[in-house]
Symmetry: C2
């Protein structure tokens, strides 16, 4: 009998490995930061002992959810401007506020709030695109959450972040040097979008990512405006354009991909580009509805992203799963698309793979990091229970998430964060709100 | 100074009356089952005293939410069949299970679960269409929830509910005689749909409702199948058909209204028919997407319905608000439609009006019944807070609902039901689940 740090029991265990079968009366053994083993409780308890056995009666255990596209610090602009056309929202509200408020101090406090919200909703990893990512990295270390932190690149200077566009690359390289090899934080190179980054920026970003073997993250084909602009500038649609300059590869996760031709869907599949599907943001900003069923059929690897809370307005991947599973049925008039198993697979294993962490997280497999969620099923809205996948996709809410483990450490216990002072984080958000409102 | 039973304080008070303005530091005075007064706390505390003052720091108070279309007892079939085409879902799963299991005992237990879920999600009134409504009425009396209970009418006999179609009318009349004038329960006549009810049934239903002055509830224009079938049988589309036989009036609430011509939208507006918009059910069953912005523009009174939990899969009106506000922006490519104020108005005052309870509930106005919700804003996902309407529509979750009052009585206190034993209700659901799964 081998001694392990934790044995996590569960009435229902979903490993999200290979066949997606449901293990009844399951258990996961965890040692240090790693998953040691997973199977039935009978099997696991015959092989391991632990002083810490987490009881899983009326509980389901599944891999931590992956948020593959966010701008975490924008959580401080949640609800500051809604129900407005995208350009008005962006140009009259979001950009001026970012220009006025963004700083390392702002990002530090805002990232705490975003991570608190995500962890309590079962999200253990997020892939981000923003500035001041070195600050985000420090917060993640403190909080104990996993993140892929993409440092933004655009064509024009921006505040003290970049006096010249060259500075964005310097920032990226510094971020990489500071965090490469870190257990929780993965640095990432993030050219913003085809209408804000010239081809040379994209090429240079790719070269930098190749040099250090880190992921690339970009916005792609989010709006009709972007497609029109890309055609005007380069005579090509966005995916074709990035393909023609050699940017696309398995290293890239592309957020949105709303406006795609069939040929572009083929390119995304061929080049193994990961797609961060941000259904709620795309709906709320009236950007359009991405062809998710077509992408899945074509073999494109797609996962879920919340985008920033200013356009969502929350950071819940459970919400994205439920919305996507329903919306694509309604839009395609086919009730069989995006079934509940597909939704959870996208939210876990697919998510980890598209942000370059497929070997580390996204499923419960010996050798992977212990990023694990325990949800309480003993709730009216989860009763009765015929199909656990259905309940997670269509009925489960962040409030049902009880225990969250990241990298072998419990960061949410009985629904409360263990590494963040919730009251303090909320108070800080109010203090920033008061400052922002006063102007 | 007049003594009242409760003074409910609130950082934010939304009465949902007339101008939809936000009252900061507000208060509501409640006496017996009624709202006595509402205004600023300064104003209310100058006029009334109470031994029970509910502290509303970091809280928002708004009218109880109205679920205008449900089949509450179907909650026991939640998740029993998903991701299937509507006809397979209905004919191979739902109908056989209903045929096998439906009974007064089943309905009694299932309604407890549905009401528990709804009350905890801030829903204080639901409008239902099902059988065994006398049983539902008894449960509502026990639970202390408001309901409009529509007794179903179809063309064919069904189990022991109706040996002949005449029996449906007898059932309706008995329900009316048993409950007419009751404070919580409003009996209602509910012909099922144009493809299951011949014109004579609709006409007889209307005559019965007129005779006793009770509401009418029906399904209308839910699917393309229904429209095609109606054209085939009557040479008219569903709304035109019901209009031609004189069925439509302010007394009618019509669920779904997905497939409408522009002329039919005009008819619904002219005849003041209320529409129960069931966006999540329509999406999940791939029925289509109702033209909500067009209906609102045309002056049709529209509110939200969850439909049964077998096709949703929950009974949360907050969920419907969020989904509808986002989906219609995405589908219409216009981010200004179904703004957050409109969403909460639909979920409250409009809802009450379309189910015939406009004088009783749906807003916080002196003389109306005290159906009131208090939600806790002290949450990460509700921070910061720039616009309270935005947060209720886009971010609030059932778990944020803390206190719920129906008819002047507190039925949810600190998130726990006071009139139902939650553990017992969940245990009963499991017992039924085990019976149903065993066959």
């Amino acid at each position: 009998m081998k001694s392990v740090d934790y044995i996590i029991k569960a009435d229902y265990l979903l490993t999200m490995e290979v066949d997606l079968s449901v293990i009844r009366d399951g258990a996961v053994a965890v040692t240090g930061s790693d998953i040691t083993d997973a199977g039935t409780f009978q099997d696991i308890s015959g092989k391991y002992t632990s002083e810490k056995i987490i009881d899983g009666r009326n509980r389901v255990v599944f891999p931590g959810l992956i948020n593959t596209h966010s701008h975490a610090a924008m959580v401080y602009f949640r609800g500051i401007a809604d129900d407005l056309p995208l350009q008005v929202w962006l140009e009259q509200h979001i950009w001026p506020n970012e220009m006025k408020w963004l700083s390392s101090e702002f990002v530090a406090d805002a990232v705490d709030l975003a991570c608190l919200e995500m962890l309590k909703a079962g999200v253990t990893t997020y892939s981000d695109m923003y500035f001041f990512q070195n600050t985000s990295g420090k917060q993640l270390q403190k909080i104990g959450m996993r993140g892929v932190l993409g440092s933004g690149i655009i064509d024009f200077p921006w505040k003290d972040v970049a006096e010249t566009p060259d500075d964005y690359f310097t920032n990226c390289e510094e971020l990489i040097n500071a965090w490469k090899g870190n257990e929780l934080v993965t640095p990432c190179v993030a050219p913003h979008a085809t209408f804000t980054c010239s081809p040379d920026k994209y090429i240079r970003a790719k070269e930098l990512a190749d040099k250090y073997d880190v992921p690339l993250h970009t916005h792609l084909a989010e709006t009709q405006y972007e497609v029109a602009e890309c055609r005007k500038r380069y005579g090509k649609t966005p995916v074709e354009h990035l393909d023609s300059i050699g940017f696309l590869s398995e290293r890239v996760s592309a957020a949105h991909c709303v406006w795609l031709t069939d040929r572009e869907i083929e390119i995304l599949a061929e080049k193994k580009v990961g797609v961060a599907h941000c259904i709620e943001s795309n709906l709320k900003l009236a950007s359009g509805i991405a062809p998710l069923p077509k992408m899945l059929n074509a073999g494109v690897k797609v996962a879920f992203g919340t985008d920033g809370a200013a356009s969502n307005n929350d950071l819940s991947i459970l919400g994205e799963m439920s919305t996507a599973a329903k919306v694509h049925k309604g839009v395609s008039m086919d009730a069989t698309v995006v079934d509940s198993r597909t939704a959870l697979l996208m939210a876990t294993r697919n998510g980890a793979e598209i942000v370059g962490l497929g070997n580390k997280t996204g499923s419960i497999r010996p050798g992977k990091k212990a990023d694990i969620v325990i949800a309480n099923l003993d709730k009216p809205h989860l009763s009765p229970l015929y199909d656990i996948y259905s309940h997670i996709t269509y009925c489960m809410r962040p409030g049902d998430i009880e225990t969250v483990m990241v990298n072998g450490k419990i960061v949410v216990d009985k629904g409360r964060a263990t590494t963040l002072d919730e009251a303090e984080v909320i108070e800080k958000a109010k203090a920033w709100q008061n400052k922002i409102q006063a102007t």
